[in-house]
Amino acid sequence: MTRIFVPKDAAALALGADRVARALADAAARLGHVIEIVRTGSRGAVWLEPLVEVETAAGRVAYGPVAPRDVAGLLEAGLLDGGAHALRLGNPDGIPWLARQQRLTFARCGVVDPLSLADYRANGGLAGLEKAIALAPADMVEAVKASGLRGRGGAGFPTGIKWNTVRTASADRKYVVCNADEGDSGTFADRILIEGDPFTLIEGMAIAGLAVGATKGFIYLRSEYPHAFATLNEAIRVAEQAGILGDDVMGSGKTFRLEARLGAGAYICGEETALLESLEGKRGVVRAKPPIPALQGLFGRPTLVNNVLSFAAVPWILAHGAKAYADYGMGRSRGTMPVQLAGNVARGGLVELAFGVTLRQIVEDFGGGTRSSRPIRAVQVGGPLGAYFPATMLDLPLDYEALAAAKGMLGHGGIVVFDDTVDMAAQARFAFDFCAVESCGKCTPCRIGAVRGRETMDRVIAGESPAAHLALVEDLCELMTDGSLCAMGGLTPLPVLSAIRHFPEDFGRGGSLPAAAE
């Protein structure tokens, strides 16, 4: 019997992985081959999906991207023995796009059966939790601190410091909450991890629970990810049965349980206090801080809120040591960042690399330029609240401080590529539009400012005294930056002002005004 690995990751499904799996099963049955199809997650090379791998005597052999119509030819070419074919990529670990990455958090993704604990253990899983159980909570927190890990959800706050605040808070109960709202457009690392290697998140949250003294954890997952939700619930069930979650976490005598909850299509529920309101069953309206969630969070109890990728980095840190993690990176950005390369790019997907790599290396070396083969004109880094940079600024390093100094932000690590047909005035208008649609409505600069900004951009685009209206936009941005309660209103000016600053020719300032996209 030959084992064939076909991803069931949502992006692979979007590119026909189910049809390929069916075609393989049908053709094999017809030809009398005995095969077992294992559904994995994705290795993150979305441009090669569906990426099919075959287990042979000489190790795994990859083929991709495979379409259903390729299947007959592949079997004829000896797919089951790793035979030669135009789509043959050889050993998947040797595919340069993957081999040149530094996979710490995503080492298992696409390799293992996401719901097999045997696979998980065989590939280094649970070593971190085992080490953690032997440590005092303060030492677990110390390891996270020493690793230099910063929050991967957007704000880049030092994870160990937050853990310590929750650890030292006293209360009748505490919570651990995973922010899996992944609302930033252009990002999908949380999704790929949950679909492809959910036990890593569960292990990281269990370590967090032991470290801060919480017995209950929630994972708040966006409803746009139905496949991830199904995999996550199943993984939690498997982990409970195996005693990784429950009354006696891996024999530690400590309790930790997990529950996954679905969001309901509100971007603002990615903001941690709105998320907590939503988990409590209320409208997702941002809370004023203080009190910080670490002291008064879910149901008023001390609550550790971290992004999926922050929790998922922890098992590796505990297993391999804080120093090994901190040895990657530059400056105050330590470890690796799972970058998500998206949009108009030839070779998009998940690229995990140590901090310090330049945007150009990611967009050109990994991305291979645009999918449309036209010149790159702009990249947006850090989601809908992130800045637009022109192609001339691609030598910026991937580093929290360097991007902030360039009036941008790393956010959750999304990089969206645009070719030279992009109309930056339309993108600036969209930033206001998005803020108007998704504002929670609590404060005026954001609720009203976004609507005014959109109207004013409409005037600019229509060519009505653009200079005067742009001055208004800039004033409005200053007001939103200074006067908004949270980063939704506070950072919407980033994409707007960066577009105006770096692409003045699209705003009627010099050069002709391109037609609006809408």
Binding site: A14, G186, F188, D190, E224, A264, G265, A342, G343
Partner: protein, 157 residues
């Protein structure tokens, strides 16, 4: 896609009772009601409020805050199309405009025969293979109007 059941207060109360023990049960209950009935009618609001000891205004406020919850039935098929930046960069707006004009509807609209509703979403996490759509929960990458309509055909009950 599973056909929604017709509204039935007894069945709704049963669903609500099954979930009301959860911490912060409002969203799980609203999701479960929408899964069963295809939408959350106003008649559900007092039932949820009573079960969770909330005011009707609180439940109503929650129901109307979130984009996901529908207060009226949708078409037999629901197509969610991404309108966010990564999909814009590969022609998503044009693809969506094509689909809408072929169907003769606008965003949030349902075709006259009740077959299909089109809703905007901001990112489906399929940003490296956009334009992206979710057709009755089935992801479609590098989508255009033809691909969306073909997916409906393929998965039609």
């Amino acid at each position: 896609m599973q056909r929604p059941e017709p509204w039935n207060a007894a069945r709704a109360s049963e669903i609500i009772a099954g979930l009301s023990g959860l911490e912060g049960a409002t969203l799980p209950i609203l999701h479960a009601l929408q899964d069963a009935f295809g939408h959350v009618p106003d008649a559900a609001v007092p039932l949820v409020a009573d079960a969770l000891a909330l005011s009707r205004a609180e439940v109503h406020g929650c129901l109307t805050f979130y984009h996901d919850f529908r207060r009226a039935p949708a078409g037999r098929h629901v197509v969610k199309i991404c309108r966010a930046e990564a999909c814009q960069s590969v022609g998503g707006e044009q693809a969506a405009a094509d689909l809408l004009s072929r169907l003769g509807i606008d965003w949030h609209g349902t075709t006259a025969d009740g077959a299909l509703t089109v809703e905007p979403v901001y990112c489906l996490g399929l940003c490296a293979c956009g334009p992206a759509a979710l057709v009755d929960g089935v992801p479609v990458g590098r989508a255009d109007a033809d691909a969306v309509l073909a997916t409906i055909e393929e998965h039609a009950p």
